[in-house]
Amino acid sequence: MRRERELERQLRETPIPEEAEAEERSWEVVRAAYSERVPVVPSHRTRRLVLAVAVGAALLALGFSPAGAKMGDWVRDVVGEEDAKPRLTSLPAAGEILVESDGAWIVRSDGSQRRLGDYDEAAWSPRGLYVAVTDGADLFAVDPAGEVRWKVSAPSQVQDPVWGGIGFDTRIAYRSGDDLWVVAGDGTDKRVVARNVAHVAPAWRPLFPEAKVNAAPEGAGGIHLLTYVDMAKQTHTVDVDTRRPGPTTREDFERLSASPSGAPAGRALSPDGQSFAVVRRVGGRDELVLTHPNQEEEQVLFSAPGNLTGPTWSPDGRWILTGWPEADQWVFIRAEEECLARPEQPRCVEAIGEISSQFASGDDGDAPFPRVSGWILPER
């Protein structure tokens, strides 16, 4: 496996003479050719939505293999193509999904969608009763019907809101410019807790549900520990109420700053705390892998050319949702034992095609690829 990785690295990194200049020269040629083209207004037609080869990769690669498996593993088979559903008509598991696309949206389990408004980013409150949304330099709390309950303003654009806490005692952390801010769950007591922070979303401790044992007793309020990364790429944990530093673990660092781009790695712990769903880059494609803490074995659930987003677990831990922007699809992968053991079964993978257009607010049907902000079983 190391040999293949070394080969991939060299193929990926070897310099090409005048690569950037070649790109610009070609873009000018392509742009000129495009400007001479007469656009054709596409007609409506029956669309055969394709869940391309990745489904096959998902199904075939379902055999457990040891981490660092030997060379044979890179030659995986693949099934051809399967149809994707043209519309998101229902979710495969109970709960509601919060989506950022052309505005903030909530998708209910029956597939119905509600647009909360023309917001940039969104985050569930811990129990799913409210949503924190951002619009420029403003942070709002809205209810699931989209009604604004309160609003606070920041000096510059609000980004990366994350809502955590316990009992009545919740906090929302967000970035504005280079500063990290916190506001209480009722919109009061806004303050800066750190300056010169990196453009990486903060995360409330515990970062993973298995760390709940470290949280304060239920209903007793508690310590609000927030982990963030500064501009020197150092990871810090701070009690946002006292500003006292808290312990920062290796796990924090990996969670928040392991990715070369500075973005957090796609990683999500299952609701039962028994396994991680991880998106990782292998060559020119992304794999969604199921890993088990303290075990060497891992299982490739899905593999596709290009990038995968997420992953996000369903609240019952039976499904994993990943986005595949290159195919404009959401892919739901069933993570239950019967599918892991017999991946060829139907109903183990559900794909929804042309997903972007389903979150478009305008008539043109165009919207950014929908990013899943959270899948929660609201307590209402």
Binding site: L7, V75, V162, D186, A201, S261, P264, A268, P305, P368
Partner: protein, 215 residues
């Protein structure tokens, strides 16, 4: 409201009318993943949307598609033909072919594999033609892959140059572009078994060099 929610809050805050809402109780821990930095509008858009916009005449959408795919297509061509100027022509031609076929493109399918199919097949054709020209002219200089740049070791470059264009293509498709053997078979019009055997053979040829690199 759950039992937990009605317990006396430690940090319940005073609320003025119109300013805030009912208490927002919560279970511990946000399970939400940190967010990726938000890209620009087009950079965050799905490919089907970009293709649709490009079909309708949006140069911005076309440029976003070009920027997403150019470098990998160019690199793939370069590693098959070993000539940066030829690779530029091949990748450029692939994009021009894509523009010509844009209105017929099924946007429910990913754009990348479609482009790579054109690019890699053209690169193989180019390398085959050059080899034929070279053999007919009795010119024997090794020029399939020019080992002039750092990055790939001279030994690996030489080993790659020793492979046929078809074998280089499967290496590129598998180990640069990340396709599975089944997908490579679809791109090159080959049975999967043939792809697998070419991959094994090519890696066998490269293995001594790669093992040397590890030491």
């Amino acid at each position: 409201m759950t039992a937990a929610a009605v317990r006396l809050p430690v940090a319940l805050r005073l609320v003025t009318a119109g300013q805030s809402v009912a208490p927002m109780s919560a279970e511990p821990a946000s399970e939400r993943l940190p967010q990726l930095p938000r890209p620009g509008l087009l950079r965050g858009r799905g490919e089907a949307g970009l293709v649709r916009e490009a079909q309708r005449g949006s140069e911005d959408a076309l440029e976003e598609l070009f920027r997403r795919h150019w470098r990998r297509a160019h690199r793939g061509a370069y590693l098959v033909v070993g000539d940066s100027a030829a690779a530029e022509d091949i990748a450029q031609e692939a994009f021009l072919a894509a523009i010509r076929a844009l209105d017929r493109f099924d946007r429910t399918r990913p754009f990348g594999p479609w482009l790579h199919r054109i690019t890699v097949n053209r690169a193989i054709d180019f390398a085959r033609a050059r080899k034929l020209r070279r053999e007919s002219a009795m010119a024997v200089e090794a020029e399939d892959i020019a080992p002039v740049e750092a990055g790939l070791s001279d030994e690996l470059m030489a080993a790659l140059a020793d492979l046929s264009p078809e074998h280089r293509a499967v290496i590129v498709l598998r180990h640069l572009l990340g396709y599975t053997p089944g997908e490579i078979g679809a791109i090159l019009g080959l049975p999967r078994g043939t792809v697998n055997s070419r991959l094994r053979r090519a890696l066998d040829r490269l293995r001594p060099v790669l093992e040397g690199e590890e030491r």
